[in-house]
Symmetry: C2
Subunit: 185 residues, 2 copies
């Protein structure tokens, strides 16, 4: 006798992200998620093969969020510099409002079970277009430099790597200037 699914995928993902941000990634256990969603732990295996895939659902959701924001920015502006700056700021905004899941997005605990690479590919494509408008010289490396810096900055900020003090917001904007100037040659 068929039984309807008791919990939607969207609310499942929202619950995972909520637990991760509020209590930490370690608190995302099969039973905590199940309890929060009104079900027993074994039922979750109908939605994900294992705990890691549960976390990947959350990371992919954040990547989708970031991707659509960046697509909006690219669509709204013709200035490639503005597109690149907007992308970096959007990543930092995500890292600020969803630090745990953003960390998950880039520092996958298991290298084997990496998050779907196709989630980040469209973002890279937008960036490449913008970089090409600035420099004809090896745009892929230039785009990677920007993403590596932005990602590294956000992760260090989240991990408390900036304890030396100073204005972190200003440091971000200064870093953005440095990288964009360097790319422009």
């Amino acid at each position: 006798m068929p039984a309807p699914q008791r919990v939607s995928t969207e609310s499942l993902i929202a619950t995972i992200r909520e637990i991760a941000e509020k209590e930490g990634v370690d608190a995302v256990t099969m039973s905590s998620v199940a309890a929060a969603v009104g079900v027993r732990a074994p039922s979750l295996y109908k939605r994900a093969a294992n705990r890691h895939e549960l976390l990947r659902l959350a990371a992919d959701d954040a990547a989708r969020e970031l991707g659509s924001e960046i697509a909006d920015i690219a669509a709204a502006s013709d200035d490639p510099r503005a597109v690149l700056a907007g992308t970096a700021r959007a990543l930092r905004a995500l890292a600020t409002r969803s630090p745990r899941v953003t960390t998950l997005l880039f520092c996958a605990p298991h290298p084997a079970a990496d998050h779907s690479p196709e989630m980040l590919a469209p973002i890279m494509a937008e960036l490449l277009d913008a970089v090409r408008a600035i420099t004809p010289d090896d745009p892929l490396s230039a785009a990677r430099t920007l993403t590596a810096w932005a990602y590294g900055f956000c992760t260090m900020e989240q991990n408390g790597g900036f304890r030396q003090g100073g204005d972190v917001d200003a440091a971000f904007e200064r870093g953005l200037e440095i990288v964009l100037r360097g790319i422009a040659g």
Copy 2:
């Protein structure tokens, strides 16, 4: 009746790093480390308060390694550009030969139990000196830009973030050029 310590701190740390690199950070359990070192799990609590501190021992060891390499580079060269480039390359070399522990160094799983910040402080001091020789303008932000990029690049490389192909070594050197040019203004 006193009983001598059965395992030296150095061999304990070496064992942890070995397991982490060969079988993954998840494989570093109290019992696997204890077994590899010829002891029972509870004995490890004489050396570390918990599993996380065991991992922190390994991360701090790698940081010490990196720090002394960078100190050597700074001592051997008067060219600030060479010091900055050497630092970035030393970090990447560490990430290449000890990827798991390097990830641990920067992407601490628990934000609470972060690795000792004083491990990285001397490295930052060397960098600041070199940056100051290049630009007088907000050297702290400039140094952070370099470290954020280098760290981000290595982490993305380790996590397979560069699946789009291309020569990764060349991309690293190109990124280094971009960042140094940007800092020089």
